[in-house]
Each structure stands twice: as C-alpha cells, then as structure tokens.
Symmetry: C2
Subunit: 545 residues, 2 copies
C-alpha cells in the first residue's frame, strides 16, 4: 500500500486520552435511569437492560483480566474516525490482557450473520491509525433486527470465544445494538454488546452524547470547500453558488458550515418545516436576498442547502405521499410511460396538482416517472440545488420584467457528501474516536452490556474529558416505524430554540446583505493548537464556550 507523506507522518500521531483512561479505572455508578419517553413500554421491551445507571470512570486499582476476545462491527455510512475507534478498542483490550483478541466482522452487520470476519492484529491496526474511511473491515447497511440473525451471530461469537461485541453506528444501529444486548442477556448467552455514536450528520446526540463522531471532520472538510468557493465568488463577483450538503434528515451539517463560513444564505430544513413554508416561499426568500445584493452591485453570493430540504416542505411532502399512493395502484401499473404524467395529473388532488404544476418540468417528470425498487418516488435524485437556482432565476426574470430587479443572475452548483465522509480525522475526531474505542474496552471489562461508550466535556482539553457509559435504553422512546410502534433512540434534529440556530438567526440578515465570508481553510494536524484542536461551532455554542 503506497502512502502519502501526510499518511506516513500521521501514522505516528498518538491520540490523546481523558486523564481517567490513562491508568487503571473504576466505575462510579449513578442512580437508576429512565428512558426519555414511554417509560413503561420501553421497560417492558428491555427487562434486562432497562434502568441501569449512568457510569463515569475514575481512577481505580490496576486490573489484570483473563484473555477476553472482542468483536467489532462498522454499521452504515462512513464517518471520519472509525479506524480510531477500532485502534482505541484494540489498545484498550490489550492493556487489560495482551492475549485478548479483536475480531472485525466484514462489510457491516452482515459479516456477523454470514460469519465473515478477520482477526485484527497489531500489524493491521497500525496500518490504519488516524486514517479516514472504514476500509479496514468495510461497512454495510444490513439491519440486525431478527432473532434468526441474533442466533446466527451467537454461533460465530461462540466459535471465536468472543465475549463482547462493539457496534459502531448511528441511531438505528445503536437501537439494534441494544435489542441484541437485551436478547443475549435474556438468553444468558454471556455476550455483552456496546455501542459507539457515529454519524457525520450529527443527529445522534442528546443529554448524554455531546456529538457523534465524524461530524467535526466532515463539516470542516465541507467548510474548507465552501470557504474556497466564497473566496472565488468574492474575487470573480459574477456567480451565485448553490451548494447542497449531505444530510437527509437533519440540517446540522449545513448549520455548522454556515457558522464556520458565514455564507449569504443557509436554509435549515427544520425551520422550513416549522414555518410550513411553500417551495415558492423558499424561492422568494432566496430571490429577495439576491435582489437586495444586486442593488449594491453585488451579483454574487452563496447559498447552503441541506440535502433533505425538499422533504421538509410540507406541501411537497404531501405531494410525494400522494404520488407514492397513486403510483402504487393497479391502474397505475397499466399506464404507458408516455402517459404517466397525464395519469398523475388526473389522479392527484387539486391541492397537490397545484404544487405539481408549480415545479419545473424536469422535476415534475422525474417525480412522476422514476421509482426506486420499492416503487417509491426517488426524492434523493432530485437535484435540489439546481431546482432552487432555476426557480430563483425564473422569479428574478419576472421581477425584472416588472422593474423590481436590476441585476445579473448566473449560478454554479455543487454537492458535497462523499468529499468528506472519509477524510482523515481531525485531531478532535482522532482523539474523540480513540477515546470512545478505548473506553468501550473499560465498559466491557466492567461487565456492562446495552451501554453506549460516551466521552463528555470535549470542548475542554482532552485530558479533562469525562469517560463513561450510558444505558442505551435511557435515550429511547417509542416511535411509529412502518406502521408499528418501535423503541428507538430519538433522532436529534436542529432545535430552533438551541444556541447554534439562535446565533445563526441573529446574524443571517447581516451575512445575507453584506459580504462577511470566513475562509476556514483545510484541516491542520500539526500547527498551533487554536488552529488544530477547535471543536465545532455547534458544540461550542451548545456548551456556551
């Protein structure tokens, strides 16, 4: 494997650990916990893993454990730092007993079910320290939900003498980790299950979890690019750049990038939904800002757009829901492709027809014609950044005809997602992830199951970070999924009364009108600490730092 100079230099980086994890630990246990909602129902679903205390690790006596094999799984989309969770876990179990082994299940949870695994030895681990990606064992999207899967899993776990399984994933994967923990506990299979909070989207956080790993690095990578584009924008002074950012459910990434870069406009899906804005209102909002800047001779700017925006516009959401129903009928299946748009127009309600007709022709055609394998409208294929810039251009042209706008409007489009999911972790993520993994080994050594590894106080220097565990059930409530009530970890959307959004809302009018771009530049690993070790703006504002 040929390595870049940065990779070689970075391999030598020793991630920082909280002080408590630098030596022997003992678990300081809090009071019994309750789930955040539906307590009776959650308790009934998790009789063996409900109500356990929150744990904090503090200095303790030296422990020497018998060899204790551990398995690890990467679940879902890539996030910077996954390799460091694994190397932290590896180092952690080896400090407890050098004969303990770490096994990685290949290509996600499917590797457990299909008995596809590899031993992760020191040689392999060393190749991946402080690197991005999940390529050490690969990841996958198989959901661990069925008893049959759990039983297939226990076969291989027994065969490899694995006593604990660490699942690195997002909200759904951690929910499933807890279901698995409960099942193995109920069956007295003697296998512990520990979760780790991963996702670049930043939507796995709550009172207990400060942030999910990867969010820091991904946002910094996108902000580097947005800053570069803004500098270009401000030099050439002739384009509006419409920049879509990954994140279907929550707008944390867009908001964080806005806080870092101060673009002219940033849309926040949660606000669009809460205000029940129509697509035309969103377009008018952007066009108004464009027109206002044009009055000052500034025919350029930047617009950040969360990937999931379109599904948060209530009218579009309703239209899509009806399209999914209408196109699933037997009648729809007999309609020729060339007749499909007319069929849709005939079949949907007057209210939705008005919305459908307001869309640019290509988008309407795509909604009516393209289906995913389940027969659903493919919302993710819609190029929201182009849809919006086209509609803004049309609106500005209309205003120009009315004499309400004098300016030039030309747009460039960007979509950033894959560019940041596998970036080499920032110092923050490298340290945070290594600590999460190392800490997981301490939860295992303390006999815990159904816990998530947590590290808190991360806006302070790493030595002051607080390590511990939180029962996964504590973060759960019941939600409706596919027509059934299910216990799940509540997804954290952007809170409109939270400090990050409030800071943004207090500044956005000024940012829209003036040109107050900030250029964060690329992630630095070796420079002054204020350059290399900043947490996200979101975290600093949330913690009032």
């Amino acid at each position: 494997m040929e390595k870049s100079f940065l990779q070689i230099a970075r391999a030598a980086y020793q991630p920082k650990l909280p002080k408590a994890l630098q030596g022997p630990v003992k678990a300081k246990e809090g009071a019994p916990t309750q789930s955040v909602g539906n307590q009776e129902e959650i308790k009934a679903e998790f009789p063996n893993t409900y109500g356990m205390p929150v744990i904090e690790f503090v200095e303790g006596e030296a422990q020497q454990l018998p060899p204790y094999n551990v398995g690890v799984i990467l679940s879902g989309g890539q996030a910077p730092g996954g390799h460091n969770v694994i190397s932290g876990l590896f180092d952690g179990i080896k400090t407890l007993n050098p004969d303990s082994k770490l096994y990685g299940f290949i290509l996600g949870p499917g590797g457990l079910v299909d008995h596809n695994y590899m031993e992760l030895t020191a040689d392999i681990i060393d190749e991946y320290r402080n690197t991005g990606g999940f390529d050490i064992i690969g990841s996958g999207r198989t959901k661990l939900e069925e008893i049959e899967q759990f039983e297939k899993g226990i076969e291989i776990l027994r065969k490899l003498d694995i006593k604990a399984l660490v699942i690195i994933g997002g909200d759904d994967s951690n929910t499933n980790a807890c279901v698995l923990a409960e099942y193995y506990a109920a069956k007295k299979y003697g296998v512990q299950v520990i979760g780790c909070p991963k996702t670049i989207d930043g939507d796995l956080k709550n009172e207990q979890i400060e942030t999910s790993f990867g969010f820091d690095t991904a946002c910094k990578t996108y902000s580097e690019l947005i800053g570069n584009i803004q500098r270009d924008c401000n030099s050439a002074r002739k384009y509006w750049h419409f920049i879509k950012l990954m994140g279907r459910s929550a707008s944390h990434i867009a908001l964080e990038c806005a806080l870092q870069c101060q673009p002219n406009i940033c849309l926040v899906s949660e606000e669009v939904e809460q205000k029940a804005m129509s697509l035309d209102e969103v377009v008018t909002y952007i066009a108004t800002a464009v027109a206002k800047r044009a009055e000052q001779g500034n025919n350029f700017g930047t617009v950040l757009i969360p990937e999931g925006l379109i599904e948060f516009i209530p009218a579009i959401k309703k239209l899509i829901a009806e399209l999914n129903d209408v196109l699933a009928t037997d009648e729809a299946k007999t309609v020729e492709r060339s007749e499909q748009i007319d069929f849709v127009r005939r079949s949907i309600s007057a209210e939705n027809l008005a919305v459908f007709n307001s869309l640019p022709a290509e988008v309407a055609a795509q909604l009516a014609l393209d289906r995913d394998p389940h027969g659903n409208v493919q919302v993710s294929l819609i190029e929201t950044e182009k849809l919006l810039s086209k509609m803004v251009a049309d609106k500005l042209a209309a205003w120009k005809a009315e004499g309400k706008y004098v300016g030039k409007f030309a747009a460039q489009h960007h979509f950033f997602g894959y560019e940041g999911r596998c970036a080499a972790p920032s110092n923050y993520d490298a340290d945070y992830c290594y600590s999460l993994g190392f800490n997981a080994s301490r939860l295992i050594a303390n006999g815990k199951t159904g816990y998530m590894s947590i590290i808190k106080n991360t806006t302070a220097p790493a030595a002051e970070w607080i390590a511990g565990g939180v029962p996964i059930t504590m973060m759960m409530n019941m939600e409706r999924r596919n027509g059934k009530n299910k216990p799940v970890i509540r997804k954290a959307l952007v809170e409109l009364d939270g400090a990050p959004f409030r800071y943004f809302a207090a500044h956005r009018d000024e940012w829209a009108e003036k040109t107050e771009y900030v250029y964060p530049g690329p992630i630095q690993y070796f420079g002054p600490t204020e350059v290399c070790d900043q947490p996200t703006c979101t975290l600093k504002l949330e913690q009032n730092k």
Copy 2:
C-alpha cells in the same frame, strides 16, 4: 473582516525567498535570445523587445532608488497565490525605496482602461498575505489588445506617476503584456511592463518557466478530495465515481491528480486526440476496466476526466464545427425550436450524423439547441462525467445481455474547479508567488520591460531557487487566431513523451486493475517539511527528482 483561526496563524508566515533575492542584486545577462518559432515575424512585430537576454540575479551592491511607483493587474481566472505575488512586489519596491507606491487596478485589465484603481498600502497588503483568492483588487477578462486601450492606460499611469506595470496572468495575458511593453517602448512612454506566469491549468510552462503559480495548490486541493472519495469508494465498495477536473485546454491537472492519487482510470485529452479515439473507444476503454474489476468482485472505482476532453475527440470536434456552421445559416434561424433537432439531422454530413446519433438524447438535444451569445455550441455545458457514465452503463448493459459482463454498475459524479482556484496557497505557492513578485521589483529596478518574472530550480529548497527574467518574445511563435496570424506564447499541453505522462502510462494498467489508491489528505502548512513543502509530482518527474 472576521478571520478563521488558520487565516490568523497563516498571516504571520514569512514566505521564503531565493538566496539571491535576500540581499542586493545585480543582473547577470546571457546571450541575445530568439523566439521559439517564426523568428523573423516575431522580430518584426517586436522591434524594441525582441532578442533581449535571459537574466539571472546574483549578489550585488546595495542600491537605493528614487521613489518609483508601480501598478499591478490580476488578469483572468483566479489562482492560489495571487495575493502573494502582490505582497512580494510590495515588499520588493519598498526595500528599494519606502516612498515608492503600489497601485492596484480594479477587476482586471479593465481597471487600467477605465481608470479604476486603488493604492495598496501596507495595511491592506497585510490583510492579504498568504491568502487565496484575487479579492484584494479583483480580476477580470478584458483583453488588452487595442491601441486605444493602451492610450487610455498611459493617461492614468502618467497621472499616478507609475513607471512600471506588472501583469499577472496566463499565456494570453502575458502575450498582451509584451504587446503593451513593445507599444510603450516604441512610443518612448517610459513605462516598463513585466509579466508573471499564473494559471491553475499548468499550461503556461516551457524551457524558461518551470510551472505557473496556483497549479500546485489547486492540484493538491483536488487530490485531497479525490483521495477522500477513493477512501469512501474503497470502504463502501459499491460506486464508480466519475470526477471531472477543471482545465479546458490541457490535462495537466487531471494527470497531476492521477500521479498523486493513483485512481483506477484517468483520461488524458492529448492522448485521446493523438490516438484519434472515438467517443465509443473512450467508453469502451472505461467499460473494459470496469468489467475487469467486476470479475474480481470489485464493483467500484474512480475515473478522472479533464474538463476539455470532449473537444479533443476528433469526431466530436468535427461534429461541433459543422454544427456551428449549420446553425449559423439564415435557414437555421427560421427553424422552430421543436424542429431544430430534425433540422440538424437533415443538414449535417452522413459522417457527423452517425456521431450525432450515437450521443445520448439529452446531449444531442443540448448540442442542437443551446447556443452561447456568439451562436456557438456550448461545449462547456456538457456534463462529460455524466455523459461518459451513462454510455458506460449502456455498454455494460449490452455486454451483460451478451453474457460478457457480470457485475453491478452504479455511478456518482463530481466536478471540481471552483473548489481549488481560491484555496489558500500551499507553502510552495506562497513562497513561489512571493518570490515572483519580489523578483518583479528587481526586474523593474534594472530597467527591464517585456520580461516575465521567473523563478527556477523550485524542486530544491527555496534558498537555492534561481531568480531572474526571460524576454516574453523568447516564448512566442505565430499561431492562427480568429483567422489571423498572431504572435502568441505557445500553450503547453501534456507531452505524451514527457516524464509525467510516461510514468502514468507505465503504471495505469496496474492502477486500473488493482486498488492502489493513495490518499494525499489536506494541504498542511505547519508540519514536517516532507508533508508541507513537496512540489507537484509533475515537476519532480520533469526534473527527474
């Protein structure tokens, strides 16, 4: 202006200078020079600026000059380091006489003609040291070609008592700088004109100029992103990423990124042209590699595509030429939009019709329908990355039906350009640009005009760099432009017998088949020198380092 932590830290960076420029200099002059081609014609066009010697600066006696005002212009597309050329120039003229003033003309050469300028004082310069972008004075694409413009220019130069003008630009801008130098010399206006080699495209280089500034930083920024995508690609193992890279004329950027990242495939326009490949042959080349990787179970990969590729495919070039002719006829102007595709089919030659019909419907429609303001086909609007992936998908589907391919093919698309043109300059570009600007002040002090500022030996440590000047006429030949023979600096395309391409060609089959990705990571400014101060692979290979 709110600044990022990196900007603040980076403001303190003192760019390195060649040893010769660290103290007083004298000019060591070589023999009279000749242009690279059409010597008699070039000499006739440039009687006052032809045949001058190449200059190298060596240690000399301390000089104190009278105040000597200088003007500076940024011309054309942004490139990282432009601000450092200006700060080097500023520091250079101030060391010769602190009362000398530097004026910037606003928004490119148009600022000279329209008398739109600002004085660049120390306060302003300090805000822009080591930053990306051209926003200090803006850039523009006005071409300085007409005597009327030169005369408008001399008015403001006289008014501001400017004795020398530095034009920072690409091949065309430097050609025009020389025409201006010749004109002012012929008229004895007493204004020197000096050029600086700028362009991220890397196509302004020759025996005298090692590289144009900005190429280093832009390629490193794109390579960071390509590396991240490759890591994702190798973790998720389910997509082929088609990545288009800026650069209409030359493929230096794509080639350099390939050398840095080792993607599965990189197309090089110059090779496609030289081999007279058809679009189908290009598609077959990619599809063959995809199929070969699929045989090993690897349904993922990366393809780098130079922006200008499609215009280098001889058959497409011919088609576009005929389309431009056919659609410019009076008859064409009477044709309804809905009839235009049929009109094109009726009007073009059988050979071009076959090519036209082989294109995906959307691309054919775009070629037939969308014109630029001059009535030409808008080649730049063609999304080559999507065109190619669509055609590869179609070919693979056909092969699958024939039983020649068993695999899955899904593609993601990217286009990088604006992401890198205004990145903060790498140490290399920061030092190189500062040296180019500082050196320009020494060319001015030595009374030179019609010279380009050059810095050589840049694969060695900066102290060993060689500073000097080269007569712009030396790099010229006559070329046909808009139906006329014109003296121009020859554009440097990728040489298929040059070391960078040969290295690539020797490795590409292995890179295509295996997965040998390299992940360069983000540009580092503060770390170990082997991480922070590497020149491009292109330059190292060219200089056999």
